[in-house]
Amino acid sequence: MRNGLVSMVGYQGKKLSSTLVLLGTILGLTGCFQQTAKPLAPVQEEAIPVDWETLADTYDTPMPFPVLEKLKSKAQMAYQDGDYQATHLLLDQMFRVDSQRPDVMALKGWVYCQQAEYDEAQLWLQRARGYLHAEDKYDKLLKQAEVGCQ
């Protein structure tokens, strides 16, 4: 029993000491930094308006195929002309080229939203968000879009 107590104390002691050392180091470093650095202004997140441009351009993973950029441009022109059918056609073409692009799915959802097909819009936006992390800026944008398309 004595041996068990000793080993338990030793084990916990090791864990505690390593944690304390680490914490001290970090705090020290942080304190130094705070003394030399200027105080940072509080970060305010700007609300990005949800529209075709932001949905098309905010996702920063580059397109794997050059043709996708061309198709996206054409889809934008069709959208601006109000031709939703042609827009869907081009987005579908993009989707077939690369079926894991959240921006393509998001744009499809957005167009359905403009057509007042909210159920379909929600599904596409959710699908897009499934490829993004929670802290992703683009995910926040899509979440806004989801709220707006209800």
Partner: protein
């Protein structure tokens, strides 16, 4: 003398005859006719005789009777004229007598010539009336068909166009097959549309123009470099980043008579064709009125000179009438009708109209069940090119074939076809339509018909069947078979061909391996795109060209263990209760049914396996544990999940459903697995992308749509479990063959091994394969030994992308105890990890004490909390 005075009641005829008899009795001349018929029809001879006798008796008697005084006073009787009477009745009698005379004259027989004339007159009038009626009828028939819609133009069904762009995954073999199927000619360097060259992965392709559903794409010359199964670079004369080859025509929806044609106008036809056709078939076309006596005579002379039939005597108009309205009987009556109708056609319509109709009507050959009509389609059928692109010798061949498309079939009888073509060229040269140089060049040219490759002009009946069924929701049968609609589908010809070939080959191999008679097994397959729901291929039979029973769409068979992913998905949708590592009891299970029968499911190996993790139960397809699990979560919930995955059919929630006592078609199974493969998004499987009119005006467009979604976290977990099934379980043959694809799937075997199934997916394709017997007989096949083999062969050819699963945000990877199924709230040393839904961590425990974590683990766990 005698009784000459008329008495009441006696007929004038009698009186007259009496008078004449008395006269004749006294002064009878030899030969004079004394017989007259009375009105009663009786001969008056007797009376005359009696009178005569009376007179004679009087005379012959010794005593002479004295003439009474009254008789003496009366005037003497004239011989031939009846006695005049001053009374009205006498006049009446005279008139009656006159009529009687006339009547007797009418009954006099006329001469033979007059009778002949009379009957001729009757016939002429009757014949004329009949002719008029016939002409009216024929005229109505001619105009009714000729005006408005003359033909029922079948709908044309196209495969998906092959889209070429930089970076696109594409095998060289697939591109070459596509080009061949489009009838592209392999040359050293393409100079005109429809040609290509290939050398060490570098392709030059001169594409043809085509009117797509979104507009016209002009012909263009492109250069692309293939490498590593991708298009590494692409440039085109139109400077487009994406170029589409024209889609392969994969079939049509035909009217009952199976005629097919590609309508052309006179403007579409080369001038040589118009003039050449007339020169060969009907030189007097612009001069006659439907029939040409000169033409007949000339043809006879030409045939006599040639010693055989080289020219016909029928005009183009007559030929048109024969093809459009009549049959091909060689009888005089049919010929007569044909002549009449030809004249009526000429009377009603201008020459140009008749010629244009002829060019679209003429029969030019057969392709399976499809009858090739018209030069527009004939050009494509024989030369894989549109009419304006044909050369002199090719046009000559088409014109020559008219005389006998079967007899001069260039595929089967090239020598005959060449001889006939040369005859046509000779006629053209004589007529001055081509000069000497052109004539020589054309005669020395080869026939030029597209070689009859096995994949050329091929139809895909099982896929067409699906297309028709999906179209019926929006179109009437009549519209589909008559309006010339253009239907653009998702069919991938390469995938379809590979599926057909592999299926056919592997089924034969299975029969051989298991010593079955050839033809014992049947098979079917459905392949879709994993994310869009496009149906890429449908194979309805091991003999795919056969328009028979479409097993892919119509063979409902029990799915067996294919249902297990649905059972486990239902369980994983309750994350507080179940995760992939949950321990299940694979022990004997008994269920007493409502009918009083005891149901005791058995494992395949007739053994129980004790405590097994959920994912291993699925991987090894243990029945007992599955049934226990299913009964815990509720059979109705499992049926609900089936519906959420896309099953429309009603399923009764019996416990046997948990082991696949549900009969579905391969298409329905594909729909269920499609939803799983896409990450839980239910979308309808679609074979059609767009429908346009014959002129290219859009009628319908079918975009990619989502219907609903299941919980992504649960679907992700079942995908992982199905991947494990292929890596370690009953589907491991596929993993051994294609480890790089990281495939996921499930085997299915039904009672007595009557059905062998495999359903699974890669990063881009979902495929379902069924093998069994049409008579539902027992087979030696399991899902692993049968369908899986075929499935793997198919995926080897068609799958390009590996399955890279994307964990949704509510999934965490944590340590767990495989023996106990316990989850820990973090990673614990070298304990195995498991993806779980966060909701499952409610019952998670801290890492066990004997699993020391070193300082690195502490830092990791600290940061993960931060």
């Amino acid at each position: 003398m005698g009784s000459d005075s008329p008495k009441a009641g006696r007929s004038p005829r009698n009186t007259a005859s009496k008078k004449s008899s008395s006269r004749s009795g006294q002064q009878k001349k030899p030969g004079a006719s004394t017989r007259r018929k009375t009105l009663t029809g009786k001969s008056s001879t007797t009376k005359k005789t009696n009178a005569t006798k009376k007179t004679n008796t009087v005379k012959n008697g010794s005593s002479v009777k004295k003439t009474p005084a009254s008789e003496v006073i009366r005037a003497p009787v004239r011989r031939s004229t009846p006695a005049k009477s001053s009374t009205a009745s006498t006049r009446k009698k005279k008139a009656a007598s006159k009529r009687s005379t006339q009547a007797s004259r009418r009954h006099t027989r006329p001469s033979a010539f007059k009778r002949l004339l009379k009957w001729f007159g009757y016939f002429t009038v009757t014949g004329f009336v009949a002719l008029v009626i016939i002409l009216i009828y024929l005229d109505a028939r001619v105009t009714q068909t000729f005006e408005g819609k003359r033909w029922a133009i079948p709908a044309k069904v196209y495969a998906r166009p092959l889209e070429l762009f930089e970076g696109r995954p594409l095998k060289s073999q697939a591109l070459v097959q596509e080009l061949k199927q489009l009838g592209y000619e392999a040359v050293s360097y393409p100079k005109r549309p429809g040609q290509y060259s290939a050398y060490k992965g570098k392709f030059h392709i001169y594409s043809r123009p085509f009117l797509f559903w979104d507009g016209l794409q002009n012909e263009q010359l492109m250069t692309l470099q293939l490498g590593g199964n991708r298009i590494q670079s692409l440039s085109s004369s139109n400077e487009q980043d994406m170029v589409r080859l024209e889609p392969i025509r994969v079939g049509g929806i035909y009217p009952n008579h199976n005629e097919d044609r590609e309508l052309i106008s006179l403007d579409d036809a080369p001038e040589l064709l118009l003039k050449g056709l007339i020169a060969v078939e009907d030189r007097q076309f612009y001069e006659h009125w439907g029939i040409s006596v000169r033409g007949i005579a000339r043809a006879m002379l030409a045939n006599v000179k040639a010693g055989g039939l080289v020219q016909g005597g029928s005009t183009l108009t007559q030929q048109l009438v024969k093809n459009m309205y009549l049959n091909h009987e060689r009888t005089l009556s049919r010929k007569a009708v044909e002549a009449l109708m030809a004249v009526l056609l000429e009377v009603n319509y201008p020459k140009e109209s008749i010629l244009e109709t002829y060019m679209n009507e003429i029969y030019l050959g057969q392709s399976g069940r499809r009858a090739i009509h018209g030069f527009g389609l004939g050009s494509q059928f024989y030369f894989q090119r549109n009419l304006p692109y044909l050369q002199t010798h090719e046009i000559a061949l088409l014109v020559g074939i008219i005389k006998g498309p079967s007899y001069y079939n260039p595929h089967r009888f090239p020598e005959r076809a060449k001889k006939r073509r040369d005859q046509v060229l000779d006629i053209w040269q004589e007529a001055g339509l081509i000069d000497q140089a052109q004539w020589l060049k054309a005669k020395s040219a080869a026939l030029g018909v597209t070689k009859k490759a096995p994949y050329l002009n091929v139809e895909y009946p099982a896929y067409l069947d699906l297309v028709k069924r999906q179209l019926k929701a929006d179109y009437r049968e009549a519209d589909l078979t008559s309006e010339g609609l253009r239907i653009f589908t998702s069919l991938d010809p390469f995938t379809q061909r590979q599926a057909e070939e592999q299926l056919s080959k592997e089924v034969k191999r299975l029969e051989s391996r298991y010593k079955q008679k050839p033809g014992t097994f049947e098979s079917a397959s459905v392949i879709t795109d994993a994310f869009s729901g496009d149906v890429l291929a449908v194979v309805g039979s091991r003999s795919p060209r056969f328009f028979g029973f479409n097993r892919a769409l119509d063979a409902r068979r029990p799915i067996g263990s294919l249902v297990k992913p649905v059972v486990f998905l239902t369980a994983l949708s309750q994350p507080e209760r179940y995760h992939l590592g949950s321990i299940l009891e694979d022990e004997r299970y008994e269920h007493l049914g409502k009918n009083g029968k005891l149901w005791v499911p058995q494992n395949y190996d007739r053994r129980s396996h004790g405590r097994v993790s959920l994912q291993d139960v699925l991987a090894h397809s243990y029945n007992q544990a599955t049934v226990r699990l299913g009964m815990e979560i509720g059979v109705k919930n499992v049926v609900n999940t089936l519906n959420e995955l896309g099953l429309v059919r009603e399923v009764a929630p019996f416990p046997a459903v948990l082991l696949g006592a549900v009969s579905l078609t391969p298409y329905e199974v594909a729909s269920l697995y499609q939803t799983i493969a896409s990450g839980g998004y239910l979308m309808p499987l679609r074979a059609i992308r767009a429908v346009t009119t014959a002129d290219g005006a859009e009628l319908n467009r079918y975009g990619i749509k989502l219907n609903s979604a299941l919980d992504r976290g649960s679907v992700y977990l079942i995908q992982r479990a199905m991947q494990r099934t292929v890596e370690q379980g009953s589907g491991r043959f596929a993993h051994q063959q294609l480890p790089q694809l990281k495939l996921a799937g499930k085997t299915g075997t039904t009672n007595d091994q009557r059905d062998s199934w495999f359903a699974g997916f890669s990063g881009d394709k979902v495929a379902v394969v069924w093998v069994g017997r049409d008579d539902n007989g027992v087979t030696p096949l399991t899902g692993s030994s049968g369908a899986l083999k075929i499935w793997t062969s198919v995926m080897r050819e068609i799958a390009v992308a590996p399955l890279m699963l994307n964990a949704p945000r509510d999934i965490e990877s944590v340590a767990y105890d495989p023996e106990a199924g316990t989850l820990y709230d973090s990673q614990c040393g070298d304990l195995p990890t498991l993806p779980v839904r966060k909701d499952s961590l409610v019952a998670a425990e801290p890492c066990p004490d004997n699993r020391e974590s070193d300082w690195a683990d502490n830092i990791r766990s600290w940061f993960s909390d931060f």
